[in-house]
Amino acid sequence: MTCRCDPPAVGGSCRRISQFVLKVHSRCDLSCDHCYVYQHADQTWRDRPVRMPPATVRAAARRIAEHAREHGLPVVHVVLHGGEPLLLGAAGLREVLAELRTTITPWARLDLRMQTNGVLLDEELCRLFVEYDVRVGVSFDGDRAANDRHRVFAHGGSSHDQVRRALALLRRPEHRASYAGILCTIDVRNDPDRVYEALVAESPPRVDLLLPHATWDDPPHRPGPEPTPYADWLGRLHRRWVDDGCPVSIRLFEALRPGGGGTEAFGLAPADVLVIEADGSWEQVDSLKTAYHGAADTGFDVFDHSVDEAARHPGVAVRQDGLAGLCATCRACPVVDRCGGGLYAHRWRTGSGFDNPSVYCPDLLRLIHTVDAHPPPTPAAQPTPHGSSAAPGSGWSAPSPVEALLDDLATGHGSASTLALLATTQLSITRALLAACRGRSGPTAAWELLVHLEQAVPEAVQAILEHPFVRPRLVRHLDSSTRPPGADAAVDPLPALAIAAAVRAGVPAALRVPVRAGAITLPTLGSLALPTWGRASR
């Protein structure tokens, strides 16, 4: 599928938006004093409906689907947000999720997410999120003292136990697929080691660390004489993380690494995101609410305006201009490609608007130096296939992992360790494609069988995935352009892979396996001709 508009790179008007934040409930059951929605400059929440009405959900879903269709988007990300989205209750959330799936899925793969404080999460909600393949991020600031410094109920009571109970629910094997990670807003008054330990103890798939929202008008709290307390605090946590072997993905550190790809807060890549408020208003990113009242407004809404119209709003468009959208100071900075000027909201100053460096600029610069000075262990940091590495201070920089591999292969025949690494990465790519197929079709019996077999008899699944026919089948399933004319678009390769693995493992299993061209082909085992069968065999 291709976009009907001109590509943006050649000056066309196309501004594709693939990420949407849906404010399904505009109130919250916590009263965190660092919340940008209620406690900062913007107070527009006071005039919003408490919950997004069904007609607004329907209109939003149709606008997103319309945009996906018009621009041929392969995937659309929708984040259910608030306020606190769980205040909608299981029944209300089911209605929203069903509407989104029904309306958007015919046009694009729908990646559903939710950001919650976790207080109301229970088993029924977890089952709902697994059913609708929603990945849930939980806001949690670390150990009890750190979390309860800000994240409390209106009566001042702790939310720590409730949030930890929610995280324990998400960790259960039956809910684990819906556990996206933890979002932690840092406070330099907290102990970074205790925060780190509390976060890692929850076994999150991923952690993101956020700087507290601040502007030049309302600068961040700097409790001591140190000029860069945020860099110092994060640097200490980074050292601990690296020394521990990076036991969990921490997005902030990974995004700041060279080529790390960035996030909304860092890097120069376009932030193609729009927010839909509970009353159906299109808004710019939420964090702008920290700058001034009405900062995120666009004047558009889902009833009368398309995504394209909202995306052409100057405030949205400037976020996609990369380096050209930054102030002169940032454009001249040697690390601008790493920090990207910091979070847009953190640049605000009355008078010069957003045309400033981040209020965290000195911290970001120092943190980038810290991240560079203490990189996580990589194959390059380990002995090369030749058993040597560049000595510190020798004047030679250590080769990248890929360069080291190429150097070794260029000798004529690679070492055993290099060839083993290449084989490993090939298997990893096939596993990623397998997971992409799962992402396309959702959890199926075939996927569950593969998951079970990998735990019980991993060598059986590995043998299947290493078969040379498997990767092309997975690619063909994901890419309609590589399918031969007339081929059945619905053929899912996972059942045949799962059954083949089960046979190799000696595990009894029953699955419905699609028949292609009158045969079932089981990798590593052979083909079973079934000329008189229909489209599937059991």
């Binding site: 693939s18 984040v79 997410r113 684990r176 376009p270 193609d272 990113v285 596993r431 799962r438 590589t482």
Partner: protein, 62 residues
């Protein structure tokens, strides 16, 4: 002038080796970025706007 479409960047080697230690059960969640990078790289007809930030892939500070 080369009019060939720009190919998505290759996945990071470290991410590839690390993901192999993650059970299939968890790989979809824990290595969502890697899966997306591999899909973009390998599946030729599934391009996305180059360089866009996966803000919502894990809800950062939006």
């Amino acid at each position: 002038m080369d009019h060939a479409p720009t190919r998505s960047p290759r996945p990071v080697l470290d991410d590839l080796t690390r993901s192999l230690h993650t059970p299939l059960e968890r790989i979809v969640v824990e290595h969502a970025d890697l899966i997306e990078a591999v899909r973009r790289r390998v599946v030729t007809n599934d391009s996305v706007p180059s360089g866009s930030v996966a803000v919502a892939a894990f809800n950062s500070s939006i």
